[in-house]
Symmetry: C2
Subunit: 341 residues, 2 copies
Amino acid sequence: MGTQRSGPVTLRTIADQLGLHVSTVSRVLHAKPDESLRAASASTVERVRRLADELGYQPNPHATSLRTRRSNLVGVLVPRLSDMVLATIYEGIEEAAAEHGLSTFVANTGDRPETQRTRTNMVIGRRVDGMIFGDAYVDGRFLDEVAGRGIPFVLVSRTAGAHPSVTCDDYLGGRLVAEHLLELGHRDVAVVAGEPYASTGIDRTAGLVDRYREAGLSVPADRIAQSRFDVSGGHAATARLLDTPNPPTAIFAVNDFAAIGAIGALRHQGLRAGDDVAVVGFNDTPLAAELPVPLTTVRSPMLDMGREGLRTLLRLLEGEAAESKRLRPELIVRASSVPSP
Amino acid sequence: MGTQRSGPVTLRTIADQLGLHVSTVSRVLHAKPDESLRAASASTVERVRRLADELGYQPNPHATSLRTRRSNLVGVLVPRLSDMVLATIYEGIEEAAAEHGLSTFVANTGDRPETQRTRTNMVIGRRVDGMIFGDAYVDGRFLDEVAGRGIPFVLVSRTAGAHPSVTCDDYLGGRLVAEHLLELGHRDVAVVAGEPYASTGIDRTAGLVDRYREAGLSVPADRIAQSRFDVSGGHAATARLLDTPNPPTAIFAVNDFAAIGAIGALRHQGLRAGDDVAVVGFNDTPLAAELPVPLTTVRSPMLDMGREGLRTLLRLLEGEAAESKRLRPELIVRASSVPSP
DNA sequence: CTGAAAGCGCTTACAG
DNA sequence: CTGAAAGCGCTTACAG
């Protein structure tokens, strides 16, 4: 059995017990199945593998990273994980990362530029191989800087400038909503539009407005209200939109949570979603279908966005060119946009 | 300016440019403000600090970890980050970790024992200093193993055996719900109880059942339905509870999302939450207040749980004893449990 | 087929 | 006050 060493098992533990040199052990453990022949004799390979298994050897990633200058670490920045949309995208990232032997750091930035900066520095300080940003500002200035520092990254959920991104086709999503509302005869629609720095809200709004214009109808500026992306943000924005002598007959909130807030604001005014005012959300989070008034919304492929985002980063890390992708949205019609019979 | 080195700035870069030895530079950069005197002469300290700043020196954490056997890394396991409750707890963990110069790995385990195993191994393989589990099974068997491997950890959200934990006082929360429903005159209550392996659901249920028993009322087994913790889990469990000739007059779902599912299931039967059946949730997530029928629920201090969980781990890492904590819940009464006037 | 050496970037006693 | 050495655990040409 050899000497019983305390502390974690290292290459040296194995080498000593087998009377080999650490470099031999390293070579064996490192070789892909097919090239093990070149690493050592068949019997040595066998003995090393068996003992490594028995002792539960796990390479020290700090030593490996120090030596190879590759950390197999990916940094992920999101506005906030308590936003189910981003959390789900992150789940996709994590799944795909695990499949490829990568680990991920996530940090919440609250969409605050100052925090984006400090978190990015912190993550880069940890020597990640690449980053994924879910909190891009549409102007992309900060990201230009990051690119200038030579660190590879991919955006998910939001686009910015020409940086590679994996997003939902938000513009198309907005158009789908417009078509649905036009069919229902709504000529006067208002938009809970999200934050002005996020491409998601911008593009979803633009899609709706453009499609309305094509139908000969304009959506005036005072029908479009900025908002936070959460429930209370949607509530506040809707309250403002309703504070007018001639309220709209339909509301498009660019996010399911904002839509829930919109429904809350309507209720405050004694108005019911569906019967009195059509409400449409975005994302088709698992809540949408279960609300007391089930929510019409646009399904966006959140998990896939994450998975595909990581794969794109992987390609970048291997020196290939990264192409941006827009994934297809799908309109899901429920009771919140159609009056009960 | 000295030689222009390519690649990242290391201690050597600074040492060479200043004609010092790396060990001197290390000592200076390492010293706390007050002990810098002992590290080097005042002028050397000044020169080193200035240049490090200028060059934007960031120590290579892999080298530091390799040398010091401390990674300043914490591994966090949660059932799923797309559960807003866990995501919020994690935000608390991350905040507190950042304040203490620690970074965190999070992984989703989906509450699957197999995944808990592989993720734990993966995280330990990354040489974290400690772990935080938000996905503890109440039997604690797996955690006993982890403890046996000598890795320090703290539980959040759920308890298990005698392992140190930071949780909401779930039992008390259940009692608060019982008192509220008893006051309203409900003698026949049903529980959407969550997963049988999670202390949260178990304790919340027990609190309610015990308080009812003290009032001379029993909650029979067929009024208690296991459920997943998400919306569709709550829906399914409620559908089962309603499938009886004499349905209950009140439903306690041990989680806001399950409660939303419960409301959905009621609606399917033509029943309205509040007017027809009282519904109470747990956690007071931001949605609760904004639902078309605002949800009565028990507020649990999610952020604090995370922050306090990390602090407890920190104490453990410093060799102190860790005490479990139960944070105080608070009942929030809204329309879902009181008929409209 | 296997060994020996060098080195990734850092820290920490130990000298002087 | 500063330097020199050793070593954390690994990988990778280079010998033989």
